[in-house]
Protein backbone atom coordinates (compact mmCIF):
# COMPACT_ATOMS: atom_id res chain seq x y z
CA UNK A 1 0.00 0.00 0.00
CA UNK A 2 2.80 2.38 0.93
CA UNK A 3 4.65 1.57 -2.28
CA UNK A 4 1.56 2.24 -4.32
CA UNK A 5 1.06 5.59 -2.62
CA UNK A 6 4.72 6.48 -3.15
CA UNK A 7 4.52 5.54 -6.83
CA UNK A 8 1.36 7.58 -7.22
CA UNK A 9 3.03 10.59 -5.58
CA UNK A 10 6.05 10.30 -7.88
CA UNK A 11 3.85 10.08 -10.96
CA UNK A 12 1.86 13.10 -9.81
CA UNK A 13 5.01 15.10 -9.21
CA UNK A 14 6.50 14.20 -12.58
CA UNK A 15 3.32 15.11 -14.43
CA UNK A 16 3.16 18.44 -12.61
CA UNK A 17 6.76 19.08 -13.63
CA UNK A 18 5.92 18.25 -17.24
CA UNK A 19 3.30 21.01 -17.36
CA UNK A 20 6.03 23.56 -16.66
CA UNK A 21 8.44 22.32 -19.29
CA UNK A 22 9.19 24.80 -22.05
CA UNK A 23 8.78 22.28 -24.85
CA UNK A 24 5.38 21.22 -23.56
CA UNK A 25 4.28 24.83 -23.22
CA UNK A 26 5.44 25.56 -26.74
CA UNK A 27 3.86 22.40 -28.13
CA UNK A 28 0.56 23.51 -26.69
CA UNK A 29 0.80 27.08 -27.89
CA UNK A 30 2.36 26.32 -31.25
CA UNK A 31 2.07 22.61 -32.15
CA UNK A 32 4.88 21.39 -34.36
CA UNK A 33 3.63 20.24 -37.75
CA UNK A 34 6.19 18.07 -39.48
CA UNK A 35 4.29 18.26 -42.76
CA UNK A 36 3.98 22.05 -42.90
CA UNK A 37 5.63 23.68 -45.87
CA UNK A 38 7.34 27.06 -45.89
CA UNK A 39 4.00 28.75 -46.59
CA UNK A 40 2.31 27.09 -43.63
CA UNK A 41 4.73 27.41 -40.75
CA UNK A 42 2.74 30.27 -39.23
CA UNK A 43 -0.71 28.68 -39.39
CA UNK A 44 -2.77 29.49 -36.31
CA UNK A 45 -0.27 32.06 -35.08
CA UNK A 46 -0.55 35.83 -35.19
CA UNK A 47 2.35 38.24 -34.77
CA UNK A 48 1.97 41.79 -33.45
CA UNK A 49 4.70 44.28 -34.35
CA UNK A 50 5.36 47.67 -32.88
CA UNK A 51 5.94 49.87 -35.99
CA UNK A 52 9.39 50.88 -34.78
CA UNK A 53 10.46 47.25 -34.34
CA UNK A 54 9.97 46.21 -37.92
CA UNK A 55 10.85 47.16 -41.50
CA UNK A 56 8.55 48.40 -44.28
CA UNK A 57 6.32 45.64 -45.58
CA UNK A 58 7.46 43.15 -42.96
CA UNK A 59 3.95 41.85 -42.40
CA UNK A 60 3.81 40.76 -46.04
CA UNK A 61 6.78 38.49 -45.43
CA UNK A 62 5.08 36.91 -42.43
CA UNK A 63 1.79 36.56 -44.28
CA UNK A 64 3.61 34.66 -47.01
CA UNK A 65 4.78 32.22 -44.32
CA UNK A 66 1.20 31.67 -43.16
CA UNK A 67 1.15 33.99 -40.16
CA UNK A 68 -1.48 36.58 -39.43
CA UNK A 69 0.39 39.83 -38.93
CA UNK A 70 -0.62 43.08 -37.28
CA UNK A 71 1.43 46.26 -37.14
CA UNK A 72 0.06 49.34 -35.45
CA UNK A 73 0.82 51.92 -32.77
CA UNK A 74 -2.68 51.71 -31.31
CA UNK A 75 -3.60 48.64 -29.26
CA UNK A 76 -7.31 49.24 -29.83
CA UNK A 77 -6.86 48.91 -33.58
CA UNK A 78 -4.68 45.82 -33.15
CA UNK A 79 -7.30 44.13 -30.97
CA UNK A 80 -10.04 45.05 -33.43
CA UNK A 81 -8.04 43.55 -36.28
CA UNK A 82 -7.41 40.32 -34.38
CA UNK A 83 -11.14 40.15 -33.66
CA UNK A 84 -12.00 40.70 -37.33
CA UNK A 85 -9.37 38.25 -38.55
CA UNK A 86 -10.83 35.36 -36.58
CA UNK A 87 -14.29 36.15 -37.92
CA UNK A 88 -13.48 36.46 -41.60
CA UNK A 89 -10.89 33.64 -41.62
CA UNK A 90 -12.79 30.75 -40.02
CA UNK A 91 -10.39 28.26 -41.58
CA UNK A 92 -7.28 30.10 -40.40
CA UNK A 93 -8.24 31.30 -36.97
CA UNK A 94 -5.49 32.49 -34.66
CA UNK A 95 -5.05 30.61 -31.41
CA UNK A 96 -1.69 32.03 -30.41
CA UNK A 97 -0.46 35.60 -30.52
CA UNK A 98 3.24 36.50 -30.40
CA UNK A 99 3.89 40.06 -29.29
CA UNK A 100 6.93 41.67 -30.89
CA UNK A 101 6.51 44.86 -28.93
CA UNK A 102 8.26 46.96 -26.33
CA UNK A 103 8.03 46.09 -22.65
CA UNK A 104 9.05 49.60 -21.49
CA UNK A 105 11.55 48.05 -19.08
CA UNK A 106 8.76 45.87 -17.78
CA UNK A 107 6.35 48.75 -17.11
CA UNK A 108 3.82 48.15 -19.89
CA UNK A 109 3.39 46.61 -23.31
CA UNK A 110 4.06 49.45 -25.72
CA UNK A 111 3.55 49.90 -29.46
CA UNK A 112 4.74 53.13 -31.07
CA UNK A 113 5.58 54.73 -34.41
CA UNK A 114 8.87 56.09 -33.12
CA UNK A 115 10.46 57.58 -30.02
CA UNK A 116 9.20 61.11 -30.59
CA UNK A 117 7.03 62.31 -27.70
CA UNK A 118 4.21 63.24 -30.07
CA UNK A 119 4.33 60.01 -32.08
CA UNK A 120 1.42 57.56 -32.05
CA UNK A 121 1.87 55.35 -29.00
CA UNK A 122 -0.28 53.19 -26.77
CA UNK A 123 0.06 50.80 -23.84
CA UNK A 124 -1.86 47.81 -22.56
CA UNK A 125 -1.72 45.74 -19.39
CA UNK A 126 -1.36 41.97 -19.50
CA UNK A 127 -4.73 41.41 -17.84
CA UNK A 128 -6.42 43.69 -20.37
CA UNK A 129 -4.89 41.62 -23.16
CA UNK A 130 -6.28 38.45 -21.63
CA UNK A 131 -9.66 40.02 -21.14
CA UNK A 132 -9.93 41.39 -24.67
CA UNK A 133 -8.49 38.40 -26.50
CA UNK A 134 -10.40 35.61 -24.78
CA UNK A 135 -13.70 36.22 -26.59
CA UNK A 136 -11.82 36.17 -29.91
CA UNK A 137 -10.65 32.61 -29.34
CA UNK A 138 -7.03 33.44 -28.51
CA UNK A 139 -5.73 30.95 -25.99
CA UNK A 140 -2.00 31.75 -25.76
CA UNK A 141 -0.14 35.05 -25.72
CA UNK A 142 3.64 34.84 -25.98
CA UNK A 143 5.42 37.95 -24.80
CA UNK A 144 8.58 38.66 -26.73
CA UNK A 145 9.15 42.03 -25.12
CA UNK A 146 11.81 43.64 -22.97
CA UNK A 147 11.82 42.32 -19.40
CA UNK A 148 8.43 40.77 -20.02
CA UNK A 149 8.47 38.91 -16.70
CA UNK A 150 8.15 42.26 -14.95
CA UNK A 151 4.90 42.96 -16.77
CA UNK A 152 3.25 40.34 -14.59
CA UNK A 153 4.02 42.12 -11.33
CA UNK A 154 0.83 42.37 -9.27
CA UNK A 155 1.11 46.17 -9.08
CA UNK A 156 0.73 46.63 -12.85
CA UNK A 157 -0.77 43.34 -13.98
CA UNK A 158 -4.30 44.72 -14.22
CA UNK A 159 -3.70 48.44 -14.42
CA UNK A 160 -0.54 50.19 -15.60
CA UNK A 161 1.08 52.98 -13.66
CA UNK A 162 1.61 55.92 -16.05
CA UNK A 163 3.60 57.76 -13.38
CA UNK A 164 6.24 55.10 -12.87
CA UNK A 165 9.10 57.51 -13.53
CA UNK A 166 10.63 55.46 -16.34
CA UNK A 167 11.94 57.67 -19.13
CA UNK A 168 10.89 55.07 -21.68
CA UNK A 169 7.27 55.44 -20.62
CA UNK A 170 6.60 58.19 -23.17
CA UNK A 171 3.23 59.95 -23.54
CA UNK A 172 0.40 57.57 -24.38
CA UNK A 173 -0.88 59.54 -27.36
CA UNK A 174 -3.23 56.70 -28.31
CA UNK A 175 -4.21 55.78 -24.78
CA UNK A 176 -3.69 53.11 -22.16
CA UNK A 177 -5.86 50.01 -21.99
CA UNK A 178 -6.33 48.44 -18.58
CA UNK A 179 -8.45 45.51 -17.47
CA UNK A 180 -12.00 46.24 -16.44
CA UNK A 181 -12.94 46.00 -12.75
CA UNK A 182 -14.91 42.82 -13.46
CA UNK A 183 -11.92 40.95 -14.91
CA UNK A 184 -11.39 37.62 -13.19
CA UNK A 185 -7.97 36.10 -13.85
CA UNK A 186 -9.01 32.68 -12.55
CA UNK A 187 -11.79 32.39 -15.07
CA UNK A 188 -9.80 33.69 -18.00
CA UNK A 189 -8.59 31.03 -20.41
CA UNK A 190 -5.76 32.94 -22.09
CA UNK A 191 -2.37 31.65 -20.98
CA UNK A 192 0.43 34.20 -20.98
CA UNK A 193 3.88 32.80 -21.75
CA UNK A 194 7.09 34.70 -21.08
CA UNK A 195 10.76 33.87 -21.66
CA UNK A 196 12.37 32.00 -18.79
CA UNK A 197 14.83 34.82 -18.35
CA UNK A 198 13.58 38.36 -18.31
CA UNK A 199 15.94 40.59 -20.31
CA UNK A 200 16.27 42.66 -23.48
CA UNK A 201 14.84 40.92 -26.53
CA UNK A 202 16.10 41.59 -30.05
CA UNK A 203 14.67 41.65 -33.54
CA UNK A 204 17.03 40.91 -36.41
CA UNK A 205 16.74 42.48 -39.84
CA UNK A 206 17.53 40.29 -42.80
CA UNK A 207 17.33 40.57 -46.57
CA UNK A 208 15.52 38.16 -48.81
CA UNK A 209 18.69 37.91 -50.84
CA UNK A 210 20.30 36.15 -47.92
CA UNK A 211 18.04 33.20 -48.54
CA UNK A 212 18.82 30.62 -51.18
CA UNK A 213 17.19 31.44 -54.56
CA UNK A 214 15.02 28.36 -54.38
CA UNK A 215 13.77 29.47 -50.97
CA UNK A 216 13.10 32.95 -52.26
CA UNK A 217 11.11 31.55 -55.14
CA UNK A 218 9.10 29.34 -52.81
CA UNK A 219 8.29 32.30 -50.56
CA UNK A 220 7.47 34.43 -53.62
CA UNK A 221 5.06 31.75 -54.80
CA UNK A 222 3.47 31.62 -51.36
CA UNK A 223 3.18 35.42 -51.33
CA UNK A 224 1.53 35.44 -54.76
CA UNK A 225 -0.98 32.84 -53.66
CA UNK A 226 -1.95 35.20 -50.84
CA UNK A 227 -1.91 38.28 -53.07
CA UNK A 228 0.93 40.00 -51.25
CA UNK A 229 4.17 41.40 -52.60
CA UNK A 230 7.32 40.52 -50.74
CA UNK A 231 9.44 43.27 -49.21
CA UNK A 232 13.17 43.54 -49.72
CA UNK A 233 13.91 43.21 -46.01
CA UNK A 234 12.24 41.39 -43.18
CA UNK A 235 12.54 41.54 -39.40
CA UNK A 236 12.26 38.50 -37.18
CA UNK A 237 12.90 38.29 -33.45
CA UNK A 238 15.40 35.97 -31.86
CA UNK A 239 12.67 34.49 -29.71
CA UNK A 240 10.47 33.74 -32.72
CA UNK A 241 13.40 32.06 -34.44
CA UNK A 242 14.09 29.92 -31.38
CA UNK A 243 10.44 28.92 -31.18
CA UNK A 244 10.38 27.99 -34.86
CA UNK A 245 13.54 25.93 -34.45
CA UNK A 246 12.27 24.33 -31.23
CA UNK A 247 15.57 25.39 -29.75
CA UNK A 248 16.17 23.32 -26.60
CA UNK A 249 17.92 26.33 -25.02
CA UNK A 250 14.72 28.36 -25.18
CA UNK A 251 13.12 28.60 -21.78
CA UNK A 252 9.49 29.56 -21.45
CA UNK A 253 7.33 29.83 -18.42
CA UNK A 254 3.95 30.93 -17.26
CA UNK A 255 2.48 32.24 -14.05
CA UNK A 256 5.56 33.89 -12.58
CA UNK A 257 6.39 37.55 -12.29
CA UNK A 258 9.86 39.02 -11.93
CA UNK A 259 10.84 42.11 -10.00
CA UNK A 260 14.45 42.51 -11.07
CA UNK A 261 15.33 44.47 -14.17
CA UNK A 262 17.97 42.98 -16.47
CA UNK A 263 20.08 44.61 -19.17
CA UNK A 264 21.31 41.26 -20.47
CA UNK A 265 21.38 41.08 -24.24
CA UNK A 266 22.68 38.54 -26.74
CA UNK A 267 25.95 39.20 -28.52
CA UNK A 268 26.24 40.16 -32.18
CA UNK A 269 27.91 36.85 -32.85
CA UNK A 270 25.05 34.89 -31.29
CA UNK A 271 22.51 36.91 -33.26
CA UNK A 272 24.34 36.25 -36.50
CA UNK A 273 24.55 32.53 -35.84
CA UNK A 274 20.88 32.39 -34.98
CA UNK A 275 19.92 34.20 -38.16
CA UNK A 276 22.02 31.85 -40.26
CA UNK A 277 20.29 28.86 -38.71
CA UNK A 278 16.91 30.49 -39.42
CA UNK A 279 17.85 30.92 -43.07
CA UNK A 280 19.04 27.33 -43.21
CA UNK A 281 15.79 26.20 -41.61
CA UNK A 282 13.75 27.91 -44.34
CA UNK A 283 16.04 26.43 -46.99
CA UNK A 284 15.58 22.98 -45.47
CA UNK A 285 11.81 23.30 -45.54
CA UNK A 286 11.86 24.24 -49.22
CA UNK A 287 14.28 21.43 -50.05
CA UNK A 288 12.03 18.99 -48.24
CA UNK A 289 8.97 20.21 -50.11
CA UNK A 290 10.82 19.86 -53.41
CA UNK A 291 11.96 16.35 -52.56
CA UNK A 292 8.43 15.43 -51.58
CA UNK A 293 7.08 16.79 -54.86
CA UNK A 294 9.62 14.77 -56.84
CA UNK A 295 8.71 11.68 -54.87
CA UNK A 296 5.02 12.16 -55.52
CA UNK A 297 5.67 12.76 -59.23
CA UNK A 298 7.73 9.58 -59.39
CA UNK A 299 4.97 7.44 -57.96
CA UNK A 300 2.46 8.63 -60.59
Amino acid sequence: MRRTLLLFAILLASSAHAFDRSDVLLARAWPYDSTAGVSEIGEGVGVVFSPDLTVPGNCRFFEALGFACFEDADWSRILDRVHTWNIIHPGRRIKTLVLETHGTNGNGLKVQKNKSAKAERSYISVAALQERLEPDGIRYVILSACNSGRLLRPAIYRSLDPNNGDKLFLPATCGIINASPTFNARRNRVTVITPGESHYELTLVGRLKELAPRTRRAIETAAKSRNVKLPVKFAVSEMLIRMLLRDPRLELRTGASVDDFSKQISTMNDSEKLFEIFATYLDTLVERDAARAIEIAGTR
Partner: protein, 187 residues
Protein backbone atom coordinates in the same frame (compact mmCIF):
# COMPACT_ATOMS: atom_id res chain seq x y z
CA UNK B 1 -63.31 15.43 7.99
CA UNK B 2 -63.90 16.19 4.35
CA UNK B 3 -63.44 19.90 5.04
CA UNK B 4 -60.12 19.17 6.73
CA UNK B 5 -58.90 17.25 3.68
CA UNK B 6 -59.92 20.07 1.39
CA UNK B 7 -58.11 22.62 3.55
CA UNK B 8 -54.97 20.49 3.63
CA UNK B 9 -55.08 20.03 -0.15
CA UNK B 10 -55.42 23.76 -0.72
CA UNK B 11 -52.57 24.46 1.70
CA UNK B 12 -50.27 22.01 -0.11
CA UNK B 13 -51.24 23.49 -3.48
CA UNK B 14 -50.47 27.02 -2.27
CA UNK B 15 -47.14 25.82 -0.90
CA UNK B 16 -46.25 24.19 -4.23
CA UNK B 17 -47.13 27.35 -6.17
CA UNK B 18 -45.07 29.43 -3.75
CA UNK B 19 -42.04 27.14 -4.10
CA UNK B 20 -42.36 27.12 -7.90
CA UNK B 21 -42.50 30.91 -7.86
CA UNK B 22 -39.28 31.13 -5.84
CA UNK B 23 -37.51 28.83 -8.28
CA UNK B 24 -38.54 30.93 -11.26
CA UNK B 25 -37.34 34.10 -9.62
CA UNK B 26 -33.95 32.58 -8.87
CA UNK B 27 -33.47 31.41 -12.45
CA UNK B 28 -34.30 34.84 -13.75
CA UNK B 29 -31.74 36.40 -11.46
CA UNK B 30 -29.00 34.05 -12.60
CA UNK B 31 -29.72 34.76 -16.23
CA UNK B 32 -29.45 38.47 -15.65
CA UNK B 33 -26.10 38.08 -13.94
CA UNK B 34 -24.82 35.94 -16.81
CA UNK B 35 -25.67 38.57 -19.38
CA UNK B 36 -23.98 41.30 -17.39
CA UNK B 37 -20.79 39.31 -17.00
CA UNK B 38 -20.64 38.44 -20.68
CA UNK B 39 -20.90 42.03 -21.71
CA UNK B 40 -18.34 43.15 -19.18
CA UNK B 41 -15.90 40.44 -20.17
CA UNK B 42 -15.90 41.51 -23.78
CA UNK B 43 -13.69 44.39 -22.67
CA UNK B 44 -15.01 47.38 -24.50
CA UNK B 45 -12.27 49.94 -24.82
CA UNK B 46 -14.30 52.83 -23.53
CA UNK B 47 -14.90 51.06 -20.26
CA UNK B 48 -11.38 49.84 -19.88
CA UNK B 49 -9.30 52.92 -20.36
CA UNK B 50 -7.60 53.77 -17.09
CA UNK B 51 -9.97 51.59 -15.13
CA UNK B 52 -9.21 51.19 -11.45
CA UNK B 53 -8.82 47.56 -10.39
CA UNK B 54 -11.04 46.43 -7.60
CA UNK B 55 -10.29 42.75 -7.35
CA UNK B 56 -7.27 41.10 -5.85
CA UNK B 57 -4.36 39.64 -7.74
CA UNK B 58 -4.64 35.97 -8.33
CA UNK B 59 -3.32 33.52 -10.88
CA UNK B 60 -1.96 36.33 -12.95
CA UNK B 61 -1.13 34.60 -16.18
CA UNK B 62 -4.00 32.22 -16.57
CA UNK B 63 -1.73 29.38 -15.70
CA UNK B 64 -2.00 25.88 -17.10
CA UNK B 65 -4.49 25.01 -14.42
CA UNK B 66 -6.91 27.25 -16.19
CA UNK B 67 -6.13 25.79 -19.57
CA UNK B 68 -9.09 24.11 -21.28
CA UNK B 69 -6.89 21.18 -22.31
CA UNK B 70 -6.49 20.20 -18.71
CA UNK B 71 -10.17 20.49 -18.13
CA UNK B 72 -10.40 23.26 -15.60
CA UNK B 73 -13.22 25.02 -17.34
CA UNK B 74 -15.63 27.16 -15.46
CA UNK B 75 -19.00 25.46 -15.68
CA UNK B 76 -21.07 28.61 -15.62
CA UNK B 77 -19.92 31.60 -17.55
CA UNK B 78 -17.70 29.90 -20.11
CA UNK B 79 -19.81 26.84 -20.70
CA UNK B 80 -21.00 28.11 -24.06
CA UNK B 81 -17.51 28.92 -25.24
CA UNK B 82 -16.11 25.41 -25.09
CA UNK B 83 -18.83 23.31 -26.56
CA UNK B 84 -18.58 23.13 -30.32
CA UNK B 85 -17.07 24.77 -33.34
CA UNK B 86 -19.09 27.72 -34.63
CA UNK B 87 -21.82 26.78 -37.05
CA UNK B 88 -22.36 28.67 -40.28
CA UNK B 89 -25.23 30.44 -38.69
CA UNK B 90 -23.13 31.57 -35.76
CA UNK B 91 -20.38 32.85 -37.99
CA UNK B 92 -22.86 34.75 -40.09
CA UNK B 93 -24.24 36.39 -37.00
CA UNK B 94 -20.74 37.35 -35.90
CA UNK B 95 -19.90 38.80 -39.30
CA UNK B 96 -22.87 41.08 -39.19
CA UNK B 97 -21.94 42.44 -35.80
CA UNK B 98 -18.23 43.11 -36.23
CA UNK B 99 -18.58 46.56 -34.68
CA UNK B 100 -20.33 45.23 -31.62
CA UNK B 101 -18.01 42.70 -30.00
CA UNK B 102 -19.96 42.39 -26.80
CA UNK B 103 -23.05 41.10 -28.56
CA UNK B 104 -21.16 38.42 -30.43
CA UNK B 105 -18.96 36.97 -27.75
CA UNK B 106 -20.94 33.84 -27.16
CA UNK B 107 -21.52 33.26 -30.85
CA UNK B 108 -17.83 33.23 -31.56
CA UNK B 109 -17.30 29.93 -29.80
CA UNK B 110 -14.07 28.22 -30.74
CA UNK B 111 -12.96 24.66 -31.12
CA UNK B 112 -10.44 23.72 -28.47
CA UNK B 113 -8.00 21.23 -29.89
CA UNK B 114 -6.03 18.93 -27.65
CA UNK B 115 -2.34 18.95 -28.42
CA UNK B 116 -1.32 16.09 -26.21
CA UNK B 117 -0.68 13.77 -29.12
CA UNK B 118 1.32 16.39 -30.91
CA UNK B 119 3.75 16.70 -28.07
CA UNK B 120 5.22 13.45 -29.26
CA UNK B 121 5.92 15.09 -32.60
CA UNK B 122 7.75 17.91 -30.97
CA UNK B 123 10.95 17.01 -32.69
CA UNK B 124 13.74 19.50 -32.47
CA UNK B 125 14.45 20.63 -35.95
CA UNK B 126 17.90 21.99 -35.34
CA UNK B 127 19.19 19.70 -32.67
CA UNK B 128 21.44 17.82 -35.04
CA UNK B 129 24.73 19.49 -35.84
CA UNK B 130 24.76 20.97 -39.31
CA UNK B 131 27.86 20.55 -41.39
CA UNK B 132 28.34 23.50 -43.70
CA UNK B 133 30.62 24.20 -46.61
CA UNK B 134 31.42 27.67 -47.89
CA UNK B 135 31.97 28.79 -51.45
CA UNK B 136 32.37 32.32 -52.79
CA UNK B 137 30.96 33.21 -56.20
CA UNK B 138 29.86 36.31 -58.13
CA UNK B 139 26.40 36.24 -59.66
CA UNK B 140 23.83 38.59 -61.12
CA UNK B 141 20.42 37.83 -59.73
CA UNK B 142 17.23 39.25 -61.27
CA UNK B 143 14.33 39.15 -58.83
CA UNK B 144 11.00 39.71 -60.57
CA UNK B 145 8.73 39.81 -57.49
CA UNK B 146 11.03 41.66 -55.15
CA UNK B 147 11.08 45.44 -55.05
CA UNK B 148 14.71 45.87 -55.96
CA UNK B 149 16.89 46.44 -58.99
CA UNK B 150 18.98 43.47 -60.15
CA UNK B 151 22.44 43.94 -58.70
CA UNK B 152 25.80 42.27 -58.96
CA UNK B 153 26.90 41.00 -55.59
CA UNK B 154 29.56 38.87 -54.03
CA UNK B 155 27.84 35.99 -52.37
CA UNK B 156 28.73 33.26 -49.98
CA UNK B 157 27.07 29.91 -50.37
CA UNK B 158 26.09 27.94 -47.32
CA UNK B 159 25.11 24.39 -48.05
CA UNK B 160 23.52 22.21 -45.46
CA UNK B 161 25.00 18.74 -45.70
CA UNK B 162 21.71 17.23 -44.60
CA UNK B 163 19.97 18.69 -47.66
CA UNK B 164 22.32 17.51 -50.39
CA UNK B 165 20.46 14.29 -51.00
CA UNK B 166 17.35 16.13 -52.07
CA UNK B 167 19.06 18.97 -53.91
CA UNK B 168 18.46 18.94 -57.64
CA UNK B 169 19.58 22.35 -58.93
CA UNK B 170 23.09 23.40 -58.01
CA UNK B 171 22.71 26.90 -59.47
CA UNK B 172 20.10 27.71 -56.84
CA UNK B 173 22.35 27.42 -53.82
CA UNK B 174 23.57 30.99 -53.56
CA UNK B 175 22.86 33.27 -50.65
CA UNK B 176 24.20 36.47 -49.18
CA UNK B 177 25.47 36.87 -45.68
CA UNK B 178 25.19 40.17 -43.92
CA UNK B 179 27.98 40.81 -41.45
CA UNK B 180 26.77 44.08 -39.99
CA UNK B 181 23.25 42.95 -39.31
CA UNK B 182 20.77 45.49 -37.99
CA UNK B 183 19.39 44.59 -34.58
CA UNK B 184 16.33 46.26 -33.11
CA UNK B 185 16.20 46.27 -29.35
CA UNK B 186 12.84 45.96 -27.63
CA UNK B 187 13.25 48.29 -24.71
Amino acid sequence: MKKLHTTAFIAIAVLCVALWGCGTTKTTTETTTETTNSAANSGMASANTQAVPTGGYSNATGSLDASPEIGAVDAGRHAQAVQTAPTDQQLTTSSVAINNPSSTMNNRATTTTTTTTQVADNSLVQTQPITTSTETTTVTTPEPNIIEEPTTTTTTTTTDSSMTSSSTQQEDTTATTNAGRERLRKD
